[in-house]
Symmetry: none
Subunit: 463 residues, 2 copies
């Protein structure tokens, strides 16, 4: 069954690429919530069509409201009641594309260069969603069945912090019950190095709004007496961190559970050149952060606070000499195991209030919050994936944590009580969330075979 | 001669108002630079027609290019070579009218309510330009001559930072030579309180650009190690000032020439309610600035540094958890007498470099720089104006400074070497640059008589 499917995957590469390019042409940016922008819905419909064509069953598109993006579910449950059921997760929405002038080819005009497919969503996550579809297709088209029972839950607002899927999961936990969950939304630590994520950081997103005078003022007439909201915001943001990047909110690091000795030992063995990372990969003058900890530990196992955006007054072409009445910042915090999002959010709100200069007002809006999670590597579904990687990539799997956040992964673990396998096939230079996002095509094809091998391995287990 | 003119002004009020209302119906917004918008040109032609009708000579309309708004010049030089020559300045362009829904009557449908004429340009500066025209008309219609020699230079792009007039002034300094310049583009400190501006602050405009990594980064993946340009910019802006708003650039205050004791004594006598200014006029929680100095001194006679705008990363609707690679701020400094713009600009550049955190790069671009100016109140042309105010308003003139900048006033002083009288008849509630701009009609009529009295007073002086 696997051998036939593998032949199908190996002979179908050109078609898979052509179909993926069509999928990537849909500009499904979920941050756009204008009622007349139907791109995310079009991407959902594309996925529905694919699921039906490859032979999945009960394919459904779920719309909660016009202001939320849709979910897509499907299943195929005929492998036998003694076989495990795996729930597959990926998302078909993408990040915005600004600054668009830095893209070498249009973000929604997929183009192959040097063995990589460039387009917004190629890596995150439409390309990986496609890997799942094609892995399923290989079995269904060659054997008319799958080696395991499969449930599918794909979403359309992962990149914009939508809560549709979390509500749906809670309301439909019985229908979504599975023995394991596969979240295909991360990547490989290095080319040729299969990687499974054993932990994700949590995330709090907040907006800090600062107000000075009631309206913008003439900076000549009132400068020297009137408060400046942009200056006030700068002072608040500065007060949040030490010059080396340590977060100043009292107790911020207190609940942090340190990584295990085994994890630390494993990370220390990973290939990493700090100078190369700073200068080549980031193109930065220097790194920030607490030098007592390794860069890996800072990125994976310590909490952060980052300003994601600032705006206020006039900063465009030309000059407008106003004293801005208002200014705002998007601020997010990455949480690690041990940290309670509710408490951290409350501490953040209180600290911003405390460091707000007396001549301006500030207001904090908590947009979303999700805890960190850790996965126990001892479970057999993780082993089945490591075996599949070994089979296709001929390499041992490394276990890392992910600095990013996939809130739904923690929800899967909490609501379904099933082990969550977080993995993927993107490479470090895939330009996630940035211009020139790309997917390595060799990894795309090997990814399909690996996921197929994983299904075959799980099919040998008992539910 | 003055008595006859005065009778003309007093009997002509209705006609003056009707003519001004026609002038105000022309929507001469100079920020509009579409080639098919001829409103500013129509306003210029209206002024040309008026100048010809009242008997001024050599009336000319000057167009430099289709992308610049016109100037209007005229003269009447038959008062005698022993009489002084006064150059009159005002502008016939206006500010944009947004937000237009806040206007009680249309911005270009002049309407009288409660003794005030409401329309865009009523106060700034078409109404005041009209005061000059009617003052001249009174003499020319009743005596066929003026008590002084007059040159006129009116412009059409004051509100949009045009440089046509500055170039024209430099290229025609001999033709524009005058013993004094009258700039009628400011206002009265309070109703019934004649006001002459004895100083204007200078202005340096600069852009501060901060760069962290080469491109925006995923804040989960790289947060804790990668530098953040928005955070770096916030830290730079914070380092520029103390929490109470004192500028930290070494030597920033060193060259400042303090106001004279006379000025300080005069300002202390001005009616001013700090609480009302802060809460009602600005709508702010508190004022900033060095409490050792009065609010007047902070606004008029101390230099400032203000952030006029900030931008970086994503701060729009929704959320994008990036670490911004770049961030920028528009920063302007108001200069007071004694400060050398070249030196202040160089000090600013050096200080920004010094306070730039090591993990980001910064770059400062100086956009423009202009020095402050002060007018010596001891000159006889100022006294002639104060006498005229006394005569018509029966009140002593107060001498204030203006926190803003009128670059052409400094240019007049520098290029023509003539004393510049900066005054006007608008009131604090005239809604300059805002909805419901208005001109107090009693001040309009008294303004015509005052300018007439000023011409008569100067006519008694020797050139």
């Amino acid at each position: 069954m696997f051998a036939n499917a593998r032949a199908y995957w190996q002979s179908g590469k050109d078609k898979f690429l052509a179909d993926l390019m069509k999928f990537l042409q849909i500009p499904s940016i979920s941050a756009n919530r204008e009622l007349d922008d139907i791109s995310v819905m079009q991407a959902a419909q594309f996925v529905v069509k694919q699921l039906n064509e490859i032979g999945m069953q009960n394919v459904k598109l779920h719309t909660a409201s016009l202001l939320e993006h849709p979910l897509v579910t499907a299943d195929w449950l005929h492998a036998g009641s003694d076989k495990p059921t795996v729930l597959l997760y990926a998302h078909f929405d993408v990040q915005p594309v600004d600054p668009v002038h830095l893209w070498k080819s249009g973000p929604f005009r997929p183009e192959v260069r040097d063995g990589k497919l460039f387009a917004r969503g190629a890596a995150d996550d439409k390309g990986q969603l496609f890997i799942l579809l094609k892995a399923l297709e290989g079995f269904l088209k060659t054997s008319g069945k799958l080696p395991v029972n499969i449930k599918v839950l794909f979403e359309g607002e992962e990149e914009s912090g939508g809560e549709h899927i979390a509500r749906y999961l809670k309301a439909n936990s019985a229908a979504l019950k599975a023995d394991a969950v596969l979240v295909l939304d991360s990547g490989m630590y290095a080319p040729g190095m299969p990687t499974i994520a054993t932990g994700l950081r949590g995330l709090i997103c907040a907006k800090v709004n600062v107000q000075g005078a009631a309206g913008d003022l003439h900076s000549g007439e009132h400068g020297g007496a009137a408060p400046n909201a942009a200056q006030g915001l700068a002072e608040i943001l500065t007060a949040l961190k030490t010059p080396t990047g340590r977060v100043r909110i009292p107790g911020f690091y207190k609940q942090v559970i340190a990584p295990t000795k085994l994890e630390l030992a494993s990370w220390a063995k990973l290939p990493f050149d700090e100078e190369q990372y700073c200068r080549q990969e980031l193109g930065a003058p220097a790194l920030i952060g607490d030098k007592r900890y390794s860069v890996a530990r800072r990125r994976w196992a310590l909490p952060t606070l980052e300003v994601n955006g600032i705006a206020g007054g006039y900063a465009g072409e030309g000059f407008k000499t106003v004293i801005p009445a208002s200014a705002s910042a998007n601020v997010s915090m990455r949480l690690v195991p041990g940290m309670d999002p509710e408490k951290v959010a409350a501490d953040f709100v209180a600290f911003v209030k405390r460091v707000t200069p007396p001549h301006v007002r500030s207001e904090v809006e908590i947009i979303s919050q999700a805890p960190a999670m850790v996965v126990d590597t001892a479970n057999p579904y993780i082993q089945a994936a490591a075996d599949a990687f070994k089979q296709i990539f001929n390499a041992e799997t490394v276990y890392v944590r992910v600095g990013g956040s996939i809130p739904i992964a923690a929800d899967f673990q909490a609501v379904l009580g099933a082990p969550v396998l977080i993995t993927g096939f993107t490479l470090p230079d895939c330009n996630l969330h940035a211009p020139n996002e790309n997917l390595d095509l060799a990894n795309f094809y090997a990814g399909i075979e690996t996921i197929g091998a994983y299904f075959a391995n799980v099919g040998k287990m008992r539910s």
